[in-house]
Symmetry: C2
Subunit: 384 residues, 2 copies
């Protein structure tokens, strides 16, 4: 049983429902950000990220900085690319488009390949673009939270390494780290940025990322200084290395409460094999997708191989609107999110099924959400 006050289940694609122990860590008594107790917890958390991202290469560098997923984009755009350099952004929704805006803000020359609505850029388009021009960096949104479209990162890294091996490969893993397989070393990724409040299961407030030794070398060997202070990787690298070596260090004050909560969340994740966790998210996803099909509804990510496993974007029946559905779901104790896509935003809802709601056998959030969806649609007069 949960010790949290009774509340509707937050079934949006982040923030998610948090485990009691994680929330308890949030109210930890105040500690010095350079005191031995917190330094040890911070250092341990950084080391644990290596396991979460599946990297054993000591040159890989984890970062935990006050912020959110968005700040990770600034870290990539400000530090890994110099003004005027070419970047290729693969977009499968709102978040790919916005990442491109971020690169533009820092002066990169950006080429975007847009996936069709509910799909993602295709390998032949990507290969053509990579052969056309030499890109400093390519990015893909592993799961675009706006559409629930999953990107096949493994095929992408294979393609880039074959066609343009010098190009840095960065994944936006905000909605994929800790729910979708990411083999940082094996796939040869150069960077994965994420946030705490999705499948990792830690309250919002942290930008979490991992960069390869190759990416760190690019940061160290820039011709120009990066146009940022707070997001400067060069300033943060020694801080992260010191904390991981259990030595206090200061650039900007970290949050002991958030980092303790992250430590608790990642400890829970790593207590079981990651493969089991990914498999569990696939099983829950299959259950949700099956129930959606039985309701006669369509999923925004049309092809099964493009469907994320920790969220589902579901088209509503033509006769039913978002302003009708969300309050009815809420009255049944379930919170879904509306759509977030410039072309189809008003036509679908987003159902997040990750973290404790998917993995904690004591929770019935998924079944409750599906039942609430069925009941709501019935109340709206929809019959499958």
């Amino acid at each position: 049983m949960s010790s949290q006050a009774a509340h509707p289940a937050l079934m949006i694609p982040g923030p998610i429902e948090f485990d009691d122990a994680v929330l308890q860590s949030m109210s930890h008594y105040s500690e010095s950000h350079v005191g031995a107790g917190f330094v040890s917890v911070f250092g341990e958390t950084l080391s644990m990220l290596r396991k979460l991202f599946q990297t054993t290469n000591p040159a890989s560098q984890p970062f935990i900085i006050n912020g959110s997923g968005t700040l990770g984009w600034d870290m990539v755009a400000a530090n890994l690319v110099e003004p005027g350099e070419d970047v290729l952004v693969l977009s499968s929704g709102y978040f790919g488009d916005a990442f491109a805006d971020c690169f533009v803000a820092y002066g990169a020359k950006v080429t975007i390949i847009f996936g069709a609505v509910g799909s993602r850029p295709q390998p032949n388009e990507i290969e053509r673009a990579l052969k056309d021009k030499k890109y400093k960096l390519i990015t893909a949104t592993h799961v675009d939270t706006s559409t629930g479209v999953l990107f096949d990162l493994k095929s992408l890294t294979d393609l880039v390494k074959r066609v343009s091996p010098e190009t840095l490969i960065i994944a936006d893993g905000v909605c994929s780290v800790a729910c979708e397989e990411i083999a940082f070393d094996e796939w040869g990724l150069d960077g994965v940025i994420t946030a705490g409040q999705k499948a990792i299961g830690c309250p919002t407030g942290l930008s979490i990322s991992m960069f390869s030794g190759r990416a760190i070398d690019v940061v160290k060997n820039r011709r120009t200084e990066p146009a940022t202070y707070f997001a400067s990787m060069k300033r943060w690298i020694p801080i992260m290395q010191n904390y991981e070596a259990k030595k206090p260090s200061y650039f900007s004050t970290p949050s002991p409460q958030l980092i303790r909560a992250l430590n608790t969340a990642v400890s829970q994740i790593l207590a079981r094999p990651l493969s089991e966790r990914f498999q569990r998210h696939i099983e829950v996803s299959d259950k949700v997708k099956k129930a959606v099909a039985e309701l006669g509804l369509k999923i925004v990510a049309a092809k099964p191989e493009d469907q994320a496993h920790a969220m589902t974007a579901i088209y509503l029946p033509d006769s039913v609107s978002i302003p009708e559905v969300l309050p009815k779901l809420l009255s049944k104790g379930i919170i879904f999110a509306g759509g977030l896509h410039k072309e189809i935003g008003s036509k679908y809802v987003r159902f997040g099924h990750m973290g404790p709601s998917a993995t904690d056998p004591k929770r019935s959030d998924i079944d409750d959400a599906l039942q609430a969806l069925r009941d709501t649609l019935a109340e709206c007069g929809y019959k499958p």
Copy 2:
């Protein structure tokens, strides 16, 4: 009585000891960042900041963003200044110097006036500089956390308005908001940046700031786009305005837990007149300074008018070292910070006396800290 586990009192100049109710808000159950409950709390918190900063001008714009005090520097440097423009930084310690580094990162032409150790730039130097060159912006660190030097902001704003009225006036209020008087409108400030974890009394993780209508106009009328995405005020302004109008809005996910904690902390502050709070910090400061004098020790901020009221940087006796003092204090349940200044860092300790430790009559933190200091020095063989 506190419900927090027994722990040493954190008497450093931030993070500070937090009130039980504030820590409890940190473990609030998960909420949607665009749900009605949280939107209302966020909006109310933004409105309360107007009272905390003492501004009634509707053109003033509050910001609450995941980050820390440092991020406020980036907001100022990236948004209010364009590359090549002149900035005058008044430094009274480590944090003034670092703010200057931040401006340099964004391409500003920076002139620094350094205060002598334990002092601050003097009015005649500032006036000379302002007459010498037209500055887009001037900054002062209201209280430099590294030295405990207080800047007389009121005299500064008077001077700037007389000599160079077009120059934007920005205060770093990280260690002054909620403990030192700041009359935003009356003094004619254009921006004050701060963080939650000092006198406001909210756990680390938020960048909190207030900008004048004049500053916002500068942001809106830039010739060039700012080289930032996450710290872009132009992107955040509509979000903050929507939340304050209790309308959901999205650019980057805010932290419901941190903002609830901030709401609790600021509600507690505003429940009593601000003048009473400032007076209380003065009284506690007087008590600390008197005790330090009785111990025959010197304060880094030499002149009484340069001494901050929420922290004291205390020179140790020549015979006593920081590595000797801090563990002895800790064994008595008190945490002080070491020095943080390139020239004198190893010679002094910092004692933070702000927030609940200063204002909550149920807490004996200040007396305990003073007694621990006396006992520690005696154990080290020092006699006043």
